[in-house]
């Protein structure tokens, strides 16, 4: 069979496949339920995507540098549990920086293993996924963690308050996205991240210290995870040990959906934000249409596989390629 070629309108659809699919979803959901495009629903979706979104920003750096980070989910649980526990022990003003320091240490450790020891990032972060989960359970003794005085603490502002009518989680997401977006697109460091992910050997031959760049990417990922943990803890003021479980795959899904290549060297913060929002709106739409919550797991991944397929198809100009 002859693989048919993509050109003209077909090529355009394939190249913009993800946006086209997104538009179709929006139209479909809006017809099914007019509440979908209501302002409060939109705000709700962005707000509930903020935690995932902040994590995806850091992982974008790691992925562009040519590595993976599967530890972000259990690291986020760790951050949440730690900051809630310390809140009652040393007060929120000290708890927050302490939690950031601890999470950054974990990020530095992963960065050391992947960057300086040159271990495979999939193995390292898969191992850390499990190890950090164990660490969290050891820390909490397996119990849920709750703040004693839930009414009287200012700690709840990061997850529950508004400023200028916009929820703080959204503002934090926007702030971190803007700063990291500029870092990636405009600074020498950002340029080096693309070079290391695009061709690590060529980066070394250009005098770039590859290990240091990879190390810093994992630090940034850890910083984002700590921020996500802060929002999560502040929103619920109590948490299970498994609050971040499974998020690592959703984060990765958002990054891929945005169009970053898992081989490294491509992707942007803006695209990741789009990926996060698409994921959020699709999940919300499925609920509004009245489907069971679990259906989203199936649909989300079907969409991701479709998006990746269209992306590959657009690059090679054919929908399928049985030969090579």
């Amino acid at each position: 069979m002859r693989p048919f070629n993509l050109s003209g309108i077909g090529g355009f659809l394939a190249k913009q496949g993800i946006l086209v699919a997104f538009a179709l979803f929006i139209i479909g959901f809006t017809i099914a339920n007019e509440r979908f495009l209501a302002p409060d629903n939109i705000m709700g979706v962005v707000r509930s995507s903020a935690i995932l979104g902040v994590m995806a920003l850091g992982v974008t750096f790691v992925v562009i540098s040519g590595n993976l980070d599967l530890s972000v989910g259990s690291m986020m649980s760790f951050a949440t549990i730690v900051v809630l526990d310390l809140h009652d022990q040393i007060g929120p003003a000290l708890a927050i920086p302490s939690m950031y320091a601890m999470v950054l240490c974990l990020g530095a450790f992963i960065g050391f293993l992947v960057g300086y020891l040159k271990l495979n990032s999939l193995i390292v972060t898969l191992g850390m996924l499990s190890a950090i989960h164990g660490l969290t359970l050891t820390y909490s003794g397996g119990k849920n963690m709750d703040i004693a005085d839930k009414e009287g603490t200012w700690f709840s502002m990061f997850g529950q308050s508004d400023a200028l009518g916009i929820p703080i989680p959204i503002l934090l997401f926007a702030l971190v996205a803007s700063v990291l977006g500029i870092v990636l697109a405009k600074t020498p460091f950002g340029r080096k991240v693309y070079a290391v992910g695009g061709n690590g050997t060529a980066a070394t031959f250009s005098g770039i210290q590859r290990a240091r760049v990879v190390f810093t990417c994992y630090l940034m990922s850890a910083f984002c995870v700590a921020t996500a943990g802060l929002i999560q803890a502040s929103r619920s003021l109590g948490s299970q040990n498994t609050v971040g479980q499974g998020l690592e795959l959703e984060v990765l899904a958002a990054v891929i959906l945005g169009g970053a290549s898992l081989l490294g060297g491509s992707g942007t913060i803006f695209k990741t934000v789009i990926g996060v929002l698409i994921l959020g709106f699709i999940q919300n739409g499925l609920l509004l249409v009245g489907l069971q919550f679990y259906v989203q797991y199936v649909v989300t991944w079907i969409i991701i596989i479709l998006a990746v397929w269209l992306d590959v198809a657009a690059k090679r100009g054919k929908l399928w390629s049985p030969i090579a």
Binding site: T187, G207, I323
Partner: protein, 503 residues
């Protein structure tokens, strides 16, 4: 020859890609028992033509005729079933499998219940290997073989079927001279069996040694076919690039400056030892030797990629240690590496970003990269090196080999180094760009750069160097001035033959 029917004929092939007419009415044929060279600059359309032949691209117009029967090629496997075999420049072997398994991959001989008939497999493979006179057997793991021997496995594949035509794409790129001789014997053998051979290569010397006819492509168009015995390099080159190529000896002797780099007794494990030489400002020193003689390793040591185990490096008379590439760059050393795509460029990045990569830390406006300054640098070197690209936003991966190499050279020139090391500066580059790069190297020396050129091509070394250092097996055998050197004594030196009166 006219009474014979061609083994393979391409008629009026046209292939267009968006914006490019890659092949414009190309016709080409190869007779049984003939070696037909296909030549052209990079981007002339040779690869596209071969992909059409192999069924990877479908031609827009024209047809392929095998033994006077028109065929439509849809895949390399189908081409193989028609007796057309490809031997690629880039190896496509499964390293973990044995030689025999690689050769018969996809069509292993079977016994009952789908079991592999190992005995038959090994005996048939050994028979083919015997014809190739190689020093390994059917059970050897491919990953344990040298690149040259892997190439031989690739060639052995072509001998498994009754081939009508075999296409060799730059087969000698990674072979030593001795191995080339074996390859040419194999080609001669195929010839006497009446197989038509298409031989793609940039190397004139080989073309004139083994081919019967030469066809030339330029800009996707067929420019003519010459009978090899009746033509010469000059005519072929002119057909390829539309003008003459200057490959005379380097005779320009300008004033040399101070010694920029001196190396004393440098050693790096078993890779090279007791290496001493110096390079002055304004001088081009050529390093010539066989693959594996230790030349690239010396360059990598000077660039901080390897730690020397003994010896001294002196820059401008001061002893120094070079810890890393960043350190080397700091000290004014630049290296244009051997492997352009693997080491020199980030193919998925644009031209400007590639060019300014080593200095991106220094080009700052506040905390940000000064993109205006970057574009200025790119424009300057694009003009100076005549880099042909639609603009700085173009991805480097889309440029031709010659233009890619110029981006790498531009990248290092823009660092204003004192010492410029270029490793195989024209590998895989077409003749036209080659001579531009040679002229550039000469010009840089006359501007006061100290230049080291590492090359495996003798005409290149002879053309650009003021002095030539011949290496063999990790040692410097002899240093020649451009007056002393002859092709004979240079070949002797790199083969480890030391004449009685060594300088």
């Amino acid at each position: 020859m006219s009474s014979q029917t061609p083994a393979l004929r391409l008629e009026g092939i046209v292939k267009t890609f968006p914006g490019v007419r890659a092949l414009d009415n190309v016709s080409f044929d190869v007779m049984p028992g003939e070696v037909h060279a296909l030549m052209g600059e990079n981007g002339a359309g040779k690869s596209t033509l071969m992909k059409v032949l192999g069924g990877i691209y479908q031609p827009d117009e024209g047809r392929i005729v095998v033994n006077e029967q028109p065929v439509v090629m849809t895949s390399p496997l189908q081409a193989k079933s028609k007796g057309i075999m490809f031997i690629h420049q880039e190896l496509s072997l499964a390293e973990e499998l044995s030689v025999a398994e690689n050769i018969y991959l996809g069509e292993l001989p079977k016994k009952s219940f789908g079991r592999v008939d190992w005995q038959k497999l090994y005996s048939e493979t050994n028979e083919i290997l015997g014809r190739l006179k190689v020093g390994f057997d059917a059970k050897t793991k491919v990953g344990d073989l040298s690149i040259a021997n892997q190439q031989m496995v690739e060639i052995a594949r072509a001998l498994t079927v009754e081939a009508k035509a075999v296409i060799f794409d730059e087969p000698t790129a990674s072979l030593t001279d001795a191995e080339k001789v074996v390859l040419f014997d194999v080609i001669g053998d195929l010839k006497t069996h009446g197989v038509g051979i298409i031989y793609i290569s940039h190397r004139m010397e080989e073309i004139f040694r083994i081919t019967d006819r030469i066809s030339v492509l330029r800009d996707g168009q067929y420019r003519g076919t010459l009978e090899t015995p009746e033509t010469d390099e000059e005519e072929v080159t002119q057909l390829m690039i539309g003008r003459k190529l200057d490959l005379s000896r380097n005779v320009s002797h300008h004033e040399l400056g101070d010694v920029a780099l001196e190396v004393r007794g440098l050693e790096c494990g078993k890779l090279f030892h007791n290496v001493s030489f110096s390079v002055c400002r304004g001088e081009v020193v050529g390093f010539y030797g066989l693959v594996g003689a230790g030349r690239t390793e010396i360059a990598e040591t000077l660039f901080g990629l390897r730690d020397p185990t003994a010896g001294q490096i002196l820059l401008d008379g001061q002893e120094t240690t070079i810890h890393s590439p960043a350190d080397a760059i700091e000290k004014g050393i630049s290296l244009v590496p051997e492997d352009r795509k693997g080491q020199g460029l980030v193919l998925g990045m644009n031209c400007r970003d590639n060019m300014t990569l080593p200095q991106v830390n220094d080009l700052k406006a506040g905390p940000f990269v000064a993109e205006g300054a970057e574009i200025a640098i790119f424009d300057q070197y694009r003009d100076r090196l005549d880099i042909r690209t639609p603009g700085w936003k173009q991805l480097v991966g889309n440029l031709s080999g010659g233009n890619q190499q110029k981006i790498v050279i531009g990248k290092w020139l823009s660092m204003h180094p004192n010492i410029l090391i270029v490793d195989e500066p024209t590998r895989g580059i077409d003749v036209g760009s080659k001579s531009e790069i040679h002229n550039l190297i000469r010009e840089l020396a006359s501007q006061g750069y100290a230049v080291i050129v590492i090359s495996s091509e003798m005409p290149e070394v002879l053309h650009v160097s003021d002095r030539i250092i011949a290496m063999f097996n990790g040692e410097i055998i002899r240093t020649f001035t451009s007056d002393e050197v002859t092709e004979d004594n240079l070949i002797q030196a790199i083969s480890g033959i030391i004449p009685e009166k060594v300088a």
